[in-house]
């Protein structure tokens, strides 16, 4: 025993690290190989047999994983954009340009005490944030991100989205009810009233679009908007777009309709008693909701993953086998030549530059250029990359509009909120529905096609 401890003490810090990690990796690799050899075939067969279930699980997991960076990006965007609108700079200390700033509240929330109030209902209290977050992720399952890149293509996708998205109210009410705090309960009821009220114009505004599209599958709705941007539904249903956007703002609890949260007035309403990661889930779900609502608006009205202009389809035929041995030279020589070529002007034009500094700059520049070219190649070659670029671009532009609105508009009062929903949005949505239906009937009659 003393020999082992003496040997251990003589190791340096990297040696100690490697002495633990390398055997562990070896053990895990060997175990994994043996497991795959023994059970791999059975598992693979099971996956092949139940491909739809596996696809659903993988999609849900991927959505959860992809929404974490999205939420961080939106939080960072909000900090930075609102700061710029207030003539401030915003976070710029944590990470380059403050990009890691949004991780800080996440880390803070993780280290907080996990607290359940006395006489609160622990089961309901614990599950409320889960319900809220899970509804966000589940409703995103039908969102088509790109051609072929979606969780499920339901023929009632839009209905599914609204049905599952409406379940978030249950989570809010659970949180308010289980907190054993009358103010939390009031906050929960308040947010339930708001969200239920705005569900109606939100859903009704889309009905006209469904009449035009003839389908509720989000994939088909996107495909109908392909081609030039004039075929987007925002130009055929402008009123519906406005109503949908306003109601979606209220659904996502964003300013000026963020009475649910109202952090400056009613200390987060239903979430008053929440702390630590439970509160973090509510917080997170809010930002995820912002993205989902933006993405859905994009899909329904702004053409989804379609480019705004009808780009000619250019497919670059890159067949690596056709280049033979030349490919090897290409892979070996191009980085070196590129680095040297990009380093040369830096070294020649600035006399103070050391040669190795110029080489480093050249290497970084080469990486930037290569990444850009690779991205361009992927955009041209793969439909889903192009679709993803357009959908995310449009969705984040809408997220910018949400943040912009938060930087501009004050919060409305609760009576103004409800009055606006019932007195203005609902009649406008009904008007839009009737006008659309009448127009469709009139056009059919003029064309002479039977109803």
């Amino acid at each position: 025993m003393t020999a082992i401890s003496r040997t251990w003490d003589q190791l340096t810090l990297p040696g100690k690290f490697l002495a633990v990690v390398v055997p562990l990796l070896l053990f895990l690799t060997a175990g994994g190989v043996i497991t795959i050899l023994l059970f791999g075939g059975i598992v693979w067969q099971a996956i092949l047999d139940h491909l739809e279930i596996v696809r659903l699980l993988v999609a849900a997991l991927a959505l959860v994983l992809i929404f974490i960076p999205f939420a961080f990006v939106i939080i960072y965007m909000e900090l930075k954009v609102i700061a710029r609108m207030n003539l401030r700079i915003g976070p710029d200390r944590v990470g380059p340009w403050g990009t890691l700033m949004s991780l800080v509240p996440g880390l803070k929330v993780l280290t907080k005490e996990d607290f359940i109030p006395t006489r609160a209902d622990p089961l309901v209290f614990t599950w409320a944030p889960v319900v809220v977050f899970a509804t966000s992720v589940m409703s995103a399952l039908v969102l088509p991100f790109a051609p072929g890149l979606y969780g499920q293509d339901l023929n009632i996708g839009l209905l599914y989205f609204f049905a599952v998205g409406g379940m978030a109210v249950v989570g809010l009410l659970m949180g308010g009810w289980a907190s054993f705090n009358k103010y939390s309960l009031l906050g929960g009821l308040r947010s339930a009233a708001q969200i239920v009220s705005y569900e109606i114009p939100l859903t009704l505004s889309v009905v006209g679009l469904i009449i035009l599209a003839g389908t509720m599958s989000l994939n088909q709705i996107v495909e109908q908007q392909s081609g030039w941007f004039t075929s987007w539904y925002v130009f055929r249903q402008p009123l519906a777009f406005v109503i949908f956007f306003i109601a979606a703002t209220a659904e996502a609890n964003r300013t000026p309709f963020d009475l649910t949260e109202a952090d400056s007035e009613i200390v987060a309403g239903f979430a008053t008693e929440y702390s630590g990661m439970r509160f973090g889930f509510f917080f997170f779900a809010e930002y995820v909701n912002v993205f989902i609502v933006s993405a859905l608006t994009t899909v329904l009205f702004l053409g989804g993953w379609n480019a705004p202009i009808d780009l000619p389809h250019v497919a670059i035929a890159l067949d690596p086998g056709a280049y033979g041995l030349g490919l090897l030279f290409f892979v070996l020589l191009v980085p070196v030549i590129g680095t040297l070529v990009l380093a040369a002007p830096v070294y020649l034009l600035r006399s103070q530059t050391r040669w190795w500094v110029a080489l480093i700059i050249g290497f970084v520049l080469f990486n930037v250029v290569a990444a850009g070219l690779t991205f361009l190649w992927a955009y041209v070659s793969f439909d889903f990359v192009a679709g993803l670029v357009w959908l995310l671009g449009k969705a984040f532009a809408l997220v910018f509009v949400f943040v912009w609105m938060r930087g501009t508009l004050p919060r409305v009062r609760i009576d103004q909120l409800m009055g606006f929903a019932w007195k203005w949005l609902l009649p406008a949505a009904l008007l839009n529905l009737f006008v659309t239906a009448a127009a469709v009937i009139a056009v059919d009659a003029l064309k002479g096609t039977p109803l």
Binding site: V81, R84, L87, I89, W404, M405, T408
Partner: protein, 272 residues
């Protein structure tokens, strides 16, 4: 309310979007320092609250921080005598506490401020009404005000500023341009002039200073004899603050007479 619904929202959004692209006001303080003059200490001014009372709480922090000792506290007592420090120094502490209470919003009866009678602004209101609250007739208003009060009180200038919409600084500049407009009553100005006459000339201070710097023994009997008022003032200040128990201070500027009349700007406190 505009005729077009939602136009206000559009205007507000366009405003914030313009702000988004404008240069930012933030200064990265430890790395970047704002570009101000080396001697910049902010603007020196005695301020008044909305009732015309002095906001200064005689905490002496400004006098202590002043790098060239141009700030001091003082004023006229009820018998018209000038004191370098207002009131007995034993009450500074409790007066500071009282001023803290006053800032909290409650009224505090303070004997130290009993002589600061608020100005009666009703004649000024008549003047403004007669001149139609017109900033273009500023000189007429100022002359009428001086005729009514004998001089231009700060409260009156503030009221003129509020009534006509002209800036305080513009009115102040106009009033300082014309020699016949005063900011102090004639008695107060005469008092100050008498004080300045009783004070020894600057040359005698410089002589004493040069003599002490040259290491000679004090040759200042004549200077001290010629400056009884300054010696008294200097000793009272030394007693009050307990600092530097030397003889007369060199070139003390005229003290802040605004303490009596309420807030002439600090540039007056530094005139000699």
């Amino acid at each position: 309310m505009s005729l077009v619904p939602g136009l206000g929202i559009v205007r507000g959004m366009s405003l914030t979007l313009r702000r988004f692209f404008e240069p930012k006001a933030t200064v990265h303080y430890p790395e970047v320092k704002a570009d101000v003059a080396a001697k910049f200490r902010g603007r020196l001014q005695l301020l008044l609250d909305e009732h015309g009372a002095l906001k200064c709480e005689t905490c002496f922090q400004c006098a202590q921080a002043c790098p060239i000792e141009c700030i001091d506290m003082g004023g006229m007592d009820t018998k018209g005598r000038f004191h370098v420090h207002w009131g007995p120094p034993e009450t500074y502490g409790e007066r500071r506490e009282e001023s803290a209470i006053r800032r909290s919003g409650r009224t505090v009866p303070d004997p130290a401020f009993a002589s600061f009678s608020p100005e009666d602004l009703s004649p000024l209101e008549d003047i403004l009404d007669r001149c139609d609250h017109d900033p273009k007739r500023l000189l007429e208003i100022l002359e009428a005000t001086q005729a009514a009060y004998g001089f231009l009180p700060v409260a009156a200038i503030k009221t003129i500023s509020q009534g006509t919409g002209a800036w305080y600084a513009m009115i102040y500049g106009t009033a300082t341009y014309f020699g016949h407009l005063r900011f102090e009553s004639p008695q107060a100005e005469a008092q100050v002039r008498a004080m300045a006459e009783r004070r020894p000339s600057e040359a005698s201070y410089l002589d004493r200073l040069g003599a002490s710097l040259a290491g000679q023994s004090v040759a200042g009997e004549s200077a001290g004899a010629s400056a009884p008022g300054a010696a008294a003032a200097g000793s009272s200040r030394a007693r009050a603050t307990g600092a530097r128990p030397t003889g007369p201070r060199p070139t003390r500027a005229a003290p802040a007479r605004g303490a009596r009349k309420g807030g002439t700007p600090g540039s007056r406190a530094s005139e000699s």
